[in-house]
Assembly symmetry: D2
Homo-oligomer: 138 residues x 4
């Protein structure tokens, strides 16, 4: 992937994905059909049980998936996600989501996202599908 394209996609998401920005999700890497994002768990990301909220972990994974599926410069919209939670993430932990493309057809594409925390513990795993529009967004 050209550095210029990566920069454009990064800028687009940093300026327009308000929900991810508001919740302090960070872009780490973007490549064709691949992306990595991260999140430092603070008090505002906790649930009633005092650990990282499922919704915060989902958002991190979904954002990595959005970066990976939009990495071709044409709009991809999430249509289905399935997430399994495997280990709790704690306050102050820095967690990472890596999205990898499994398959891409003309209209649909599928991704696996793995979310890891400290000592490479698996926090969660997500499988996601997107619908691909012809529309260029960058």
């Amino acid at each position: 992937m050209k550095q210029e394209t990566e920069a454009k996609i990064r800028d687009f998401f940093e300026q327009n994905d308000h929900f991810a920005a508001q919740n302090r999700i960070l872009i780490e890497e973007i490549d064709e059909g691949y992306a990595k994002a991260s999140l430092i768990i603070t008090k505002e990301h906790l649930n009633g049980a005092g650990v990282a909220h499922g919704g915060a972990i989902f958002l991190l994974a979904d954002f990595a998936l959005a970066l990976a599926s939009n990495s071709y410069g044409t709009l991809a919209l999430g249509i289905n996600n399935s997430i399994s939670y495997l280990n709790a993430a704690q306050e102050n932990e820095h967690i990472y989501a890596v999205a990898k493309e499994v398959e891409k057809n003309h209209k649909l594409a599928s991704y696996t996202v793995t979310i890891n925390g400290k000592d490479d513990r698996v926090i969660a795993i997500m499988q996601g599908m997107v619908y691909r529009k012809d529309k260029q967004f960058i």
Copy 2:
């Protein structure tokens, strides 16, 4: 469900679920194995395509599921969620999530969550499973 129990659960979630509060999720109703929550979509909930973020819709649905599955006063932890996005929700739209219990065993329980917006459009549908601990939290 006793009004007193409902008030305790409502208080517990309003005080301790920081991620839901931070993102302005509102509790509407709680009953045994049932809950309704809502969200007014503002700019901060939008994604790069200018509509409500999948992560915000997921959070709303997940929160309704958490209320419903914790309505017995014992701790229930989400282990798996599958969400399908069916229609986009727009800025200023008031959307609702209703979680209903499908089955509850000793250790596991399953819920269907429907998310609706203006004119009863279906925004998304979620299927979720929880693991039930013996621990009382209220």
Copy 3:
């Protein structure tokens, strides 16, 4: 739905869905965006634990979903299914799957399938999505 259309769809599936026929899945009802199918659990449907195989329950649910999503006479292909198993079904039990359309757009549609057994016990619940082709098949 016209009785003639129902008969055509029923004939099409009974003659062409070899895997469902081979495993003794029965068509009960077909309407627009709706279908009911059933299965009598015999020894050949059991798993190693001596109860109905998850694959047999999935097949029954998937078949009801296929009938419902193909009820308009244009081809619909399954792209994603999520199933949760809630109670075991026993040998000789007659189980039913009811598929209901949640939403249908130009290209995608979503269905909820509930599988029930004796005394209306919920055996499983499935959420499925299909991709809709323009091709007529009847």
Copy 4:
């Protein structure tokens, strides 16, 4: 894994998993938290569109998952599966499912299953969760 244990698990499944045997699913490999199974698609595995039935692909994947999750000799029961279909499999094609453990706790474990066909095309991908009983079955 001891060869003797593998042989016992293989025997158990070959003798007791009637639904897999009936549909000609083959065991290829079993190791701790890992398994591979295969299926030669014949006419009896086809759906109305003339390609491998989603239910047959699911069964193959689910069976690999069952082998992997039962590889410790204690009973594991499937509670949730999410499958995405990515490419059609054709009559006479020999397809393979490989199940790998993502995480295993005391009561729950999670697996990713990849189903591949000719020329390593990805046919489908599945994410599955099991509930682990204390009961020894071999």
